[in-house]
Amino acid sequence: MEEVDVEPSTTVIVDSAGFHRKHLGFEWGPGDLLVYETNYKLQGNESCSPFVHIVRRDEDICSPILRKLFNESHLIFVGLQKIKEDIPSKNKKSQFVSISKNYRSVIRACMEELQQNAGKRSHDTHHVSILLAIELIWNLCEVLFIDTAPAGSLLLHLLDWVRLHKSDVDARAREVLQSDSPAQHQSYWDVVISLVLQGRTDEARQVLSKQASLREESSSVFKSMDGLLQTMPIFNPTGTQTLTEFEVKWRHWHEECDRCLQENTFASNRHLETICKILVGDEDTLLEQKELLSTWYHFLVTRLLFTHPTIKPPDLHYYAQSSMNMFLGPRASPEPLDIILLSAFEFDLHQVIKDCSIALNNWWFVAHLTDLLDHCKLLQSHNLHFGSNLREFLVLEYASGLFTHHSLWQLAVDYFDHCPEFGRVYLELQIERVPLDTERKAIKVLRICEDRQMSEQVRSICKIMAKRALRNNRLGSALSWSIRAKDAAFATLISERFLQDYSNKGSFTDLDLLDNLGPAMLLSDRLTFLGKYREFHRLYGEKRFSEAARLLLSLMTAKIAPRSLWMTLLTDALPLLEQKEVIFSVDQTYELMSCLEDCFSSVFQDEDIESTKTELLRLALARNLTMAIVKEGTIET
């Protein structure tokens, strides 16, 4: 089969009135392309009002009803991936068939919903026809490739397939039967013949019986036809009859029909004569029913029903090709849909997938179908070494398309997870770009990255959020993001800002956060100090003075506190020194004193203020020292 070489489509972005420049500049966006008029050779000096155009694929992602399709098929996809390898193949086949049916029912549900809304948007009717075609193709693929029915059952499945997709027969039959005199209805014979064409002999008999009861004189003719229809053998796959036995029986019946024709049994009624000719599988008669058949594949199945009901799968393609040619005639050329179906009848999976990819505007169908076929191990059997690569390629394309959508991107993650070769790297690249509109969304994205140990992405997202929070002066948020990012440098920076704020306002913000830092405090020295310093204030507030004192001292002696803040800390010690009872011990007081001297010598501050403070401190420390010495020297009696 020669390849369909399709020229790329051309879209005009700018209308003729506006386009004066020679060149189109562009820039890739998330899911779209930004295009603008420019001229790379000129520097400028033109008065104009140039436009910028946002161009994107006209994709189905935007339709809310199709989104349901994406959501539900995602569930089926994930379920399919979980099917274990070690189940025996018989059970697997039935599982695959049921999954295929699930997919199809999702397509049908979507189609029905679209049909209900039809008329509101022309876009929807377009989608309906595409979905109809998709379901038709998928159903055929299921019959031929997944269910792999053998001769005998094959025709039955094909009949079901045709019946499902030619549903107007039921409506018309109902209309005729419910009318006052069915036999007089203008569609009466059309209905009978349609039913016969679909092999629905019982129903055809039922409709025929309406006729028979009216005209006594021709009743024997109708009885004969009734007899023929009643005795038509239908293969029963679950029964005890073998295919050969069925074939013999069928041949007898076929000869019986032929005999009726030869003996002109139905000469008195041209409709019955037509039906009899159909029953013997007369091609010309079948072709005359073009309008009732409406498609070449209906013609194919009907033809097989009445000439080769025991058709074997490998022989299908010959009949398919000839049926199509006969039905379409010399002048009509096949549509892409026809070619796809023909490729399916020829069991050319690869061609089916390729032609579907070309014809459709969205990767949904080919990605899911190919994935299912790959699970059935059908792509490998074609001896193509890129079998599973093809599946991964299509799934990656589909999922990448989902990623640009503001809520569907979460579905895409699961698809990437099941692409062993490139899934992870694609996910890493694309998840970074998800806009972090809200904290909630950022946390959602983070969780996905954390679950997959994408540590660089985690760090990057946290850093972006921290930076954003800092810009908007939300220090608490910035700090918790830096902690999550494990970004010591940034945590130090934010801690400095906290401390700055404290010295400006005299109180801390975000107390909840600071009080509950826990081990995260150890991320950076400055952060540790901040946490401990806040703890000091808390202890003081709870009047746990000796603990507070110890903490305060350790902050200086353990060098956790930056030198620049020692003065502040010592000043914080003042109220403790001025308590009635002695809090700082002798040793602690000596340490404080040395800290003060250290501080005084190395930090040249504003002379006046500092010297006053220093004097105050020296005095307080000295007084404390005396009291401490006395206290410690007193023997308790």
Binding site: E3, D5, V6, P8, S9, T10, T11, V12, I13, V14, S16, F19, R21, H23, L24, G25, F26, E27, W28, G29, P30, L34, V35, Y36, T38, Q43, G44, N45, P50, F51, D58, E59, S122, H123, H126, S129, I130, L132, P336, H350, K354, S357, I358, A359, W363, V366, F386, F393, L394, E397, S400, G401, F422, V425, Y426, L429, R433, P435, I464, N472
Partner: protein, 363 residues
């Protein structure tokens, strides 16, 4: 099929460059009217201009965003021989209500003696580094050692390319397997100097950039150059806009000796070459996953190129900027094969190797 939505960009002269930010929610445009405009995408999906200011005293050629890890930072370069770094500051509340934001200049880089033709930030794992190239043939790499202080930039490297430079591209790969790599394109029209694309690589030992490769087969002026995002491949992919669109594959070769002195040697192959524009190609750019390459040419078209999983490249769409009647658009009936919107020829088997359409060279 493509659908387009237009925004009046409101510049008073030609737009030379447009740049999306990392998340695609903001964009910057720059123009010959010497200004830069910043646009924000609202919750309603509409773009609003939130800042517009004069940036240079000459045409602004390019504008680019830094990675959001560094905050909201833009860089611009101009015909006025300078490049500048801008930072957005959080404004007063009434500004927010009016939907306006303020950008202030953090630094001006004045080292170039000629028009600065391109400005790009290096990949974020290298820190906050800015690169410029000028018509005087020098590529300059600046670094801001303190990312919280954007007014301090130091010139770390000056690479003399000897040919007038028009474009630069950093290899975005952050893999430890290869050192930082930058490609420089030259639009020098003198054909005696062949090799209009040079690739420089950072050497850990010498702490300098050394030339690793010159693409000698590129002899015509180069207008744009772009490394593809690396998908964990061992080789690099570089797209070039010259008299046609060319995609090169650079395969690092194993070092002969354990002593890794000197830059990496590469085996250079041509993955694809397209002359469909039939004229000069001015811009090339990759999408995020490097599955699509877009090019823009003298014929006033933007073309999209895609490789299938067999690495066969095809054109998958054309955007025209003129008034000739649209062909192949409109709503197709079910499955009528109009154009090649998303898929097309992608699922092509071995049988496609003999195609005549695109000039493919095996690679």
């Amino acid at each position: 099929m493509f659908v387009a939505k237009s925004i009046a960009a409101d510049h008073k002269d030609l737009i030379h460059d447009v740049s999306y930010d990392f998340h695609g929610r903001r964009m910057a445009t720059c123009s010959s009217d010497q200004s830069v405009k910043v646009w924000d995408k609202g919750d309603d999906g509409e773009w609003h201009c939130t800042a517009s200011w004069k940036t240079h005293s000459g045409s602004v050629w390019r504008v680019t965003w830094a990675h959001p890890e560094f905050g909201q930072v833009l860089a611009s370069c101009s015909f006025d021989r300078t490049a500048a770094v801008w930072e957005e500051i959080v404004g007063e509340s009434n500004d927010k209500q009016r939907g306006q934001s303020h950008w202030i200049k953090r630094t001006t880089l004045v080292d170039s003696r000629t028009s600065v033709t391109d400005v790009k930030f290096a990949p974020k794992h290298m820190g906050l580094m800015l690169t410029t190239c000028s018509a005087d043939g020098v590529v300059r790499i600046y670094e801001a050692p303190d990312v919280m202080n954007l007014s301090q930039w130091s010139l770390q490297h000056e690479i003399s390319c000897k040919l007038s430079c028009s474009c630069i591209s950093w290899n975005p790969s952050s893999s430890r397997a290869h050192p930082p790599m930058i490609a420089v394109g030259s639009d020098d029209s003198n054909v005696t100097y062949s090799g209009k694309v040079q690739i420089y690589e950072y050497n850990e030992n010498t702490r300098k950039y050394a030339k690793a490769e010159t693409l000698m087969t590129v002899t015509d002026p180069v207008h744009d150059i772009a490394f593809a995002p690396n998908l964990g491949r061992s080789f690099h992919v570089l797209a070039i806009a010259t008299k046609d669109v060319r995609i090169f594959k650079l395969i690092p070769m194993r070092r002969e000796s354990a002593n890794s002195s000197g830059p990496t040697k590469f085996e250079v192959q041509v993955m694809a070459q397209f002359d469909s524009h039939n004229s000069q190609v001015w811009r090339v750019s990759w999408n995020i996953t490097s599955t699509l390459l877009a090019s823009s040419g003298d014929d006033g078209c933007v073309r999209l190129w895609k490789a299938n999983y067999m690495d066969n490249w095809k054109c998958t769409g054309i955007l025209r900027g003129d008034g000739s009647p649209v062909n192949g658009s409109g709503h197709a009936a079910a499955l009528s094969a109009v154009g090649v919107p998303a898929a097309a020829q992608m699922v092509v088997g071995a049988a496609s190797a003999g195609r005549k359409k695109a000039q493919l060279m095996p690679g």
